[in-house]
């Protein structure tokens, strides 16, 4: 018996066990998703009352109803509205949060400590508390029933969560590269754009993914600020199927939930690649 055989075997078994474990965990994790999919194909009398996973027959009309859109607004319109808001939010957060994060992580300025503490404190702010004052401000600015209240805050780095996230990543970066850049005569701007930002790409992509998903699903803000059905989003339209005072259409709602899920899934899958690429090519090793 050779030593190589002995050492290789346990490693392989370990890998198989790892994969089996992960697959088992996935089965549990994805079960509710399967339920969601199955329910979107259930006939009306089974949607709520039935406790079986599988529908008695496939009710494709749920999807037909969902594809008709809501209130004379086509599903494509709803979809592009959602994309517009989520895309704007991603852009805003990535730009504004990385700028602020760089200042907090690397630059020296007066009141840095207190301002940083304040920034952290804003993460703790329950947003219901500032909802009404914020609404009044946007109303005064004449921006209610536009997308600005949903996007502008992102360009102003109000989501301190992401500033903090990027600060943490930047702090983890070795300073050597920047020091080297400074010796080469780089000012803070060039050093930010050319040295720090490329290295921070994993955090930026993480920010983009989270922003996209959270903005996409953020029902409450959209509800408050959007008025005109032409401007409604998929998330908002979903709620139109369920109304306490009359008959609800749960089947189509589930179908539309599945449809609304597709863009986020695609976005996530697309940026997964960038995430991997970003990590692999970030010059951390050098």
């Amino acid at each position: 018996m050779t030593t190589t055989a002995v050492t290789r075997k346990p490693v392989r078994w370990g890998r198989i066990a790892l994969h089996l474990g992960c697959l088992a965990a996935l089965l549990v994790m994805l079960y509710p998703l399967a339920w969601l999919l199955a329910t979107s194909l259930k006939p009306a009398d089974e949607v709520i009352a039935s406790l079986d996973l599988l529908p008695s027959h496939l009710e494709w009309s749920n999807y037909e109803t969902a594809m008709d859109g809501v209130n004379d607004v086509s599903i494509w319109r709803l979809l592009s509205n959602s994309l517009l808001i989520a895309g704007g939010a991603v852009l805003g957060n990535v730009i504004s949060c990385s700028l602020a994060a760089y200042a907090f992580a690397r630059l020296r300025f007066r009141f840095r400590g207190p301002l940083f503490a304040f920034m952290i404190a804003t993460i703790m702010l329950p947003h219901h508390a500032v909802l009404i004052p914020q609404y009044i401000i946007f109303n005064q600015l004449g921006l209610v029933n536009t997308y600005w209240p949903l996007i502008l805050p992102k360009f102003l780095a109000t989501e301190a969560f992401f500033v903090f996230l990027i600060v943490q990543f930047m702090r983890g970066l070795p300073r050597e590269l920047e020091e080297a850049a400074r010796i080469d005569g780089c000012g803070p701007f060039r050093s930010f754009f050319q040295v720090v930002l490329p290295l921070t790409r994993p955090a930026l992509i993480t920010t983009a993914i989270f922003t996209f998903i959270w903005t996409w699903n953020d029902f409450f803000t959209q509800l408050i600020y959007l008025f005109d059905p032409e401007k409604f989003t998929l998330t908002l339209a979903l709620r139109s199927f369920v109304d306490a005072s009359s008959q609800s259409s749960f089947g189509p709602m589930f179908a539309m939930s599945v449809i609304a899920l597709l863009p986020i899934v695609l976005f996530f899958l697309a940026f997964q690649r960038f995430l991997v690429e970003g990590m692999a090519s970030s010059g951390l090793k050098g």
Partner: protein, 427 residues
Amino acid sequence: MPGHRTKGFCASAAALVLCALLAGCGGSGESVGGGKVVLRYTWWGNPDRAERTEQAVALFEKQHPDIRVQTSFSGYDAYKQKLAVQASGGDAPDVMQLDYRQIDQYASGGVLFDLAKQKTVLRTSEIDPGLLDTGRVDGVQYAVPQGRGTETVVYDVKAWKDSGVPLPKWGWTWDDWAEAVRALKERTGKPGATDPGQSEDSFEVWLRGQGKSLYTEDGGLGFTAVDLTRWWTFTDKLRRAGAVSSAEQTTQIDGTVENTPLGRGTALSDTNWDAPASGYLAIIPSGVALAPMPSGADGTPGQYFKPSMFLGVGASTSHPKAAAQLIDFLINDDEAAKILGATRGIPVNETIRKETAPLLKDFDRTVSDYQASLEGKLKDPPQAPPSGDNALQTTFQRDYDQVSYERMSPREAAENYVTEAKAELRS
């Protein structure tokens, strides 16, 4: 190089988003499209109601080429939140659909316009005076009822017939009702009804059957802890006997008919408003029927015709006349009535109600017949509930949860509720 691709991608994405933003936001600027008056009209409802409303609004726009109506709707809970934020931000829509429970608060908060100022445009002579009065607060007509509904015992016809328990009929009392649900439990094994203890609406019907009311004229509490203790003891006994739904089933009620015990197939009847009851048809294929609510021991009816919704005008509107025209159209126009059917409850305009009744189809017809059978038998509706009622409806259900989960006695919970209610109504 991958880096370049990313940069290019980001730049073009950025350009795209910015363009779209400018285009999207530019659109909203034109609130006066070609000298037209633009009205914002909001309501709650489902897609069916939305479709019919859009059609009616299109007709209105055709009749009034100088007015453009911008409509918006969402489900009831979402709508309530949105309207509250809009109203407090001084941004109430020109025409809004309102619930009975909202009127007092919105009127006393100065959100609503005094409709008497537009009475030449907005005609109300065809509306039953008792019903019309429900839209008055402190003597001012702030809102006009748009549809009418009443409470009902909606039941699974086949199950009741098969069990041999006598079907409910006009004039049955709460004792008859209790006997029926007990018998149903005995013969079918299923609870005969949803536990009505959690419903402030059912309690009100019971209370009115005894000649009392939820609220006094001046907005105080119209009953005592003793009354409430009696009601909750009554329902709690039935629950313990399994004659009405268990706490575990009752707690799943979320406002939709699908999640009521009847909708889930775990009880044989439900107390609900008549219009939403249509939702049961899709889930109980063997059919449901509507019966009157039980009355007091001496036959005093507790249920009443309640405005299922109101229309009001925002106090800050710059086009009160156009807004009044729209409301008048929705309530009094023949063509509009044909389009709307009973989607907002049975019409309040008496002439229109009589004209459209034969035209109604399916469940609309059932509701219309049910209401016709009660015509002239019910007492006038109470005035709009005071603003605190909004919160109390939830409190009522929460306090009863403590009873049905057997954490408090009916007396303790009732005393709690009365204390909370008094505090709420004072502030």
